[in-house]
């Protein structure tokens, strides 16, 4: 029996893939829609983040906490179209092979309505294609690789996956924004070095940053590129090598314990007397390190995800989100928490939008249609999901500064650089590399 339903699902899927214009006309028939009823059963939402291993502390748990909080909040408001959210938190453990099997189980056996997940780029690359293969809606919420939704050569066909989305911007914008900020505040910089983890995330981050900075500031010389192993506990050798190189700016995509360890040891070794950090996802670490975090460093927020931006008086949603999160978990939310908010909210918004067009509970394909070209409010401003199924956000780069109000440095309110999304994200259909190559310098 089970098999039959599944076959039918495939046929539906196959139809949906070629639906295109058809979907629009379905959505247009509002009158018919109003009569459809909405089931009372809860919506099954699988949220997958690292709950074990070294990425659990810095990303997985803050992300998962935000999922739990938002599911709770939305359920108190009546859920999505009256249906409660049944959140299933799962561990992103065991590598890409386990995640592929798990995603299959969630879609085919557990028949979840949507999967919100994945911090690791490797997992995203392995799992997202399953969305179309199996006919399951998937929102990648935090992974950073720029090639997830891009083709090999521009222009490429968009979207790459009919049912796969990413509800946050990719690492391209972090590194481009950093380069732009450096151009603004240190246009005469001569020597730049990089320290990035020796795996795809670190390599990709440096790759984009190097392309961008060389285009923006042609005089810059790359004096050192270091590739420490992920989860290194002793950076003294790297710090000395950086000191020996005479770099003025050090680009880094280090995250989690690695970022904390590096900064701590670098500070004790006096690295910041001669160089400034430019951290592509540095936003969480002042809070982690407290007053020990050095001032005057460039920190990118992986979007505009910062607990003090947009200012609370101008954007109450941020105030609400930060206060609620702090109340529940004792910490200010960091960018993974904001990313989780975006994922669950994107789903909710898309369902509601689709329902308003077709009535009743929308099918997965209708929800997906509604999600391509979706814009919604987030605590960080607006998030736009483009036709390439990749989100676009504004990107914030700040400079750390100690104030009286917090026990850790915050981003200097006088020097907040917010780059609009079109300035730091390649347009749909162009690869990030080719887009940068086409900049007029």
């Amino acid at each position: 029996m089970a098999q039959k339903t599944n076959r039918r699902q495939f046929l539906k899927m196959a139809g949906a893939a070629g639906l295109g214009a058809g979907a629009v006309s379905v959505m247009g028939t509002k009158a018919l829609a109003a009569k459809k009823s909405i089931p009372k059963t809860p919506i099954k939402v699988a949220a997958i983040s690292f709950l074990s291993g070294p990425a659990a502390g810095p990303f997985g748990i803050p992300g998962d906490n935000a999922y739990k909080m938002m599911a709770d909040v939305y359920n108190k408001q009546g859920g999505i179209l009256g249906r409660k959210i049944d959140l299933i938190s799962l561990d992103e453990a065991g590598g890409a092979k386990t995640q592929v099997e798990l995603a299959r189980k969630l879609i085919l056996e557990d028949k979840v309505d949507v999967i919100l997940g994945y911090i690791s780029s490797g997992d995203c690359k392995a799992v997202l294609p399953l969305s179309d293969e199996l006919g399951g809606l998937m929102l990648a919420y935090d992974c950073g690789t720029h090639v997830l939704m891009e083709g090999k050569k521009s222009p490429y066909k968009t979207p790459k996956f009919q049912l796969g989305f990413r509800t946050s911007a990719h690492l391209g914008q972090d590194n481009i924004a950093l380069a732009l900020a450096i151009k603004k505040y240190m246009p005469d910089v001569k020597k730049i070095a990089g320290i990035n983890q020796d795996y795809a995330w670190g390599r990709d981050s440096w790759h984009i940053f190097e392309l961008a900075i060389k285009k923006l500031l042609p005089q810059v010389e790359i004096v050192k590129t270091l590739w420490p192993k992920i989860f290194t506990t002793d950076y003294t050798a790297h710090i000395s090598a950086l000191q020996g190189s005479g770099a003025q700016i050090i680009h880094s995509s280090l995250w989690g314990g690695d970022a904390v360890t590096f900064i701590k040891q670098a500070k004790a070794a006096g690295l910041f007397k001669q160089a400034k950090m430019a951290m592509s996802r540095g936003e969480p670490y002042p809070q982690e390190l407290g007053a020990e975090f050095p001032e005057g460093q460039f920190l990118c927020c992986a979007g505009a995800h910062y607990f003090l931006y947009p200012a609370w008086d101008k954007w109450p949603l941020n105030k609400w989100f930060v206060s609620e999160f702090k109340k529940r978990y004792g910490k200010y939310p960091t960018y993974p928490s904001y990313h989780a908010y975006q994922a669950i909210t994107a789903y909710k918004t898309a369902v509601e939008k689709a329902s308003s067009l077709v009535g009743g509970w929308p099918t997965m394909e209708q929800t997906a249609k509604a999600m391509g070209n979706l814009s919604f409010e987030t605590p960080s401003g607006y998030c736009v999901i483009n036709k390439d199924h990749n989100a676009r956000e504004d990107c914030l780069v700040g400079i750390s500064k100690m104030t009286k109000d917090y026990p850790f440095p915050i981003l200097d309110p006088q020097r907040l650089e917010v780059f609009p999304s079109f300035q730091v994200n390649a347009p749909a259909g162009l690869t990030t590399e080719e887009w940068i190559a086409g900049w007029k310098s």
């Binding site: 070294p54 020796d198 790297h238 000395s240 020996g244 020990e292």
Partner: protein, 289 residues
């Protein structure tokens, strides 16, 4: 700069020495490659971070001593339980069971740590910050690193004294050289094995305790250390104190200087050295077959 590179290498070596010594002792005396060794180190790290967190405001040395003692006691206790309940039945069993049970224990401890301490990273840098930095030939250098080197030297001397000068050490070495002969000589194998295991576990705990002031305690922190300790033991020789020392120094200094001059080579070079030694002299530089 050369001096600083050398100091960096020595610091890394010191740390490696502490964490691999236990692995080496257990491998030498019991012939078991303890895959859960890194987890004992992680226990040390989490316990120390917990205690340092509790003692905010106390003098740095007091914090460290308390944290290190607690870490050693707890890691040692877990080691004791593990040895007497799970490993004891394994000594007469084939290799595959010995390896797999430590693999299972590794998974158990990882999740137990998460159950007890929660999943969040634990920061405990107060002693590191409190000790500050000094100037060495015009370069700033953190005092804490010098402190770790000192503690390691003391621990190393203590272990050397234990192994070379005491009856306990002589008996342990006899077991290492020839198990059957030692048994025939009436050496209390059972008790000594327990002692060796607990000692190794406590050293791993100490290693974990000393590292948390410089880097947060995170879930899975033991996995990576296991690999590094494994390389040291492979290079230095199974069960050899001298070998562990030389292996740690070799790895520490090689790493420091390759990062400074040919950064790309860092990890591959270490693996290559390890594999080369395994191929040429599988018992390691100072080990016995």
């Amino acid at each position: 700069m050369g001096l600083i590179y050398a100091l960096n290498g020595l610091y890394f070596a010191a740390f490696l020495f502490l964490t691999s010594l236990g692995l080496s002792i257990i491998l030498g005396v019991m012939g078991i490659l303890n895959l859960a060794h890194g987890s004992l180190y992680a226990i040390g790290g989490f316990v120390a971070a917990y205690f340092i967190g509790m003692m905010t405001g106390s003098p740095a040395v007091l914090m460290l001593v308390t944290a290190a003692a607690a870490a050693m006691v707890l890691a040692g206790a877990v080691g004791l339980v593990m040895e007497t309940t799970l490993l004891k039945p394994m000594y007469k069993r084939p290799l595959e069971y010995q390896l797999l049970i430590t693999f299972g224990i590794l998974m158990l401890i990882e999740d137990l740590i998460k159950l007890v301490f929660g999943g969040e990273s634990r920061y405990a840098s107060a002693p590191f910050d409190a000790m500050g930095s000094i100037e060495i030939t015009g370069h700033t250098y953190p005092v804490y690193f010098l402190f770790v080197m000192g503690i390691t030297a003391l621990a190393g001397l203590f272990i050397w004294w234990l192994m070379a000068k005491t009856k306990l050490g002589i008996m342990l070495r006899a077991i290492e050289m020839d198990r059957d002969m030692a048994q025939a000589m009436g050496i209390p194998m059972r008790r000594l094995t327990v002692v060796a295991f607990v000692l190794g576990a406590a050293l791993a705990g100490l290693g974990g305790a000393l590292v948390v002031p410089t880097t947060p305690a995170v879930l899975g922190m033991g996995m990576d250390v296991l690999i590094m300790a494994f390389i040291v033991v492979v290079i230095g020789g199974l069960g050899s104190l001298k070998g562990t020392l030389v292996g740690s120094l070799l790895v520490g200094l090689t790493r420091s200087f390759t990062v400074a001059f040919y950064a790309e080579l860092e990890m591959p070079l270490l693996f290559m050295i390890a594999v080369l030694i395994l191929v040429v002299k599988p018992e390691g530089l100072f080990g016995q077959k």
